[in-house]
Amino acid sequence: MKLIFDKSVPGRSLSLLPKCDVEETTLPKEFARTKAPQLPEMSETEVSRHYTELCHHVYGVNCGFYPLGSCTMKYNPRIDEEMAQLPGFTSIHPLAPEYATKGCHEVLDTARKMLCAISGMDDMTFQPAAGAHGEFTGVLLIKKYHDARGDKKRTKIIVPDSAHGTNPATAAMCGFQVVNIASAPNGCVDLEALKAALGDDTAGLMLTNPNTVGIFDENILEITKLVHEAGGLCYYDGANLNAVMGVVRPGDMGFDCIHMNLHKTFATPHGGGGPGAGAVGCKNFLKEFLPHSTLMDGKESSQVRSFAGNFLVVVRALTYILTLGREGVKEAAVNAVLNANYLQERIKGSFKPAYDRICMHEFVLDLSEFKKETGVSALDIAKSLIDRGMHPPTMYFPLIVHEALMLEPTETESKETLDMAAEVFHDLYKQAHTNPEPMHSAPHNAYIGRPDEVRAARTPVLQKKL
């Protein structure tokens, strides 16, 4: 496909800017360019066609089934988008006088109260711009807590081996030593391994519940109690909150601080790299360390981002919560779990679940035996699904399952869609046993076939000369 720069024709232009109605002036010489910027020169028609063409080459939730495990690719209601586009929210400046920003403050305050109610936390900041940024902020709260008490020996953060890669990365970024503990055979925290890892050097534990294999850890109260008894704090990674929102609260499970991916659990289109919102909540005793914008919140504190973070994501989240209501939020979680269990049961006849039990909002298939039988890998199945009009599931994650495919159908899919997906999986299972060859080079009908991932990783080309 051609880049927009390849389509540029010298001298061609469009007139989107209104006529200048003020006196023209020039920049001081030291700031002025000596050469014109290299921008594509195109007509409005060409620009419009270029972006429409790009649109046809991507696949989103609006195109079809998108069971990308751990990512909660639910359909985002249009009303959330409509509210986020209201000029009162989009045309406001954070430094505008108070009387002009009252509505925005009300959005932030209401969203804070509702999200605290959902998570069981006492206070919250909206500054972090995404999930990993939220984790970083949350673990800094833990660090600050120990520092403020003069407890300097707490240098370690415990992370289970099934955790998202961002957890150990966050702990390391915050200056902690990461202690990895192996999961029990059922995919949950191994209490004995946890006890062995705990000590007076434990700063805290990072955990997501339900965990990355889609199982709710039934020992959660015991786990958080053990960490607290050792003097550590418990951090809840909100990655899998979609399974339990409105049903159980991380605050009641014994967690002291938490981040929530507002963009994912509370419906903002995501997956393209932002903008997101990793709201961080905490219990009262950590409140004094929460980052806030002095200008927005009137509180003297440190900041992790400017003003109120990505404010419009908070507008969408609030709209989502208000539209669903208390019962609706719970129903969304319950249906997410129901859909995942339905799909797991339907697929189970061919592909084997890694943990054959009732799951939460997602489940993991273990294709290692299937690969031995047929030579067809999890990657081949993922790529073959593209030809069948589906977005592939998450693959090769979590690392504790070999040849893993992780499916999260979300609550916004119908029974018909789930049935269709199950049939596709059965078909591919059969094909792997009868005619596996084409599967190794799938997809065949997609705009981009099978990229050479190894070459891309070994010799990446990250620039294009214009």
Binding site: G165, S368, Y396, F397, L399, H402, E453, V454, A457, R458
Partner: protein, 126 residues
């Protein structure tokens, strides 16, 4: 799958060969197969201290990043710099491609011989 008799192995799938007080460390055939195509190797520096049972570097494959665990405690006396530009050597010839050499050895993990390692891998693969 290949398990050379003259080598010892760790349960984290590194092979080790000891000669004249120097331990040569690489990853096993089973490890390279499980990892898939290796695209990057993160090596320690010569002179770094390594501890038995702890990570001394990592390997990145198309699938994931995995720790390289040292089977011995000691000091890194040589690193295989070829791997920086040619990480695929670990896939092509896992036993002919060493990663680090360690001297001043003070401690060792419980290692497996080829036969027990083969049995261990068979168990892992189940």
């Amino acid at each position: 799958m290949n398990y050379p008799k003259e080598l010892n192995y760790s349960k984290s799938h590194e092979w080790i060969k000891e000669e004249n007080g120097v331990a040569t460390v690489g990853i096993s055939d089973y490890a390279q197969d499980a990892l898939g195509d290796v695209v990057f190797v993160n090596l320690p520096a010569v002179g770094d201290a390594v501890t038995a049972g702890e990570a001394f570097g990592d390997v990145e494959s198309v699938k994931a990043v995995s720790d390289l665990v040292s089977p011995v405690s000691g000091t890194v006396c040589e690193i295989n710099e070829e791997l920086v530009d040619a990480p695929e050597k670990l896939n092509k010839d896992p036993y002919g491609t060493w990663i680090i050499k360690v001297n001043e050895i003070s401690d060792k993990e419980d290692l497996l011989n080829a036969e027990s390692y083969e049995a261990f891998c068979a168990q892992e693969a189940k």
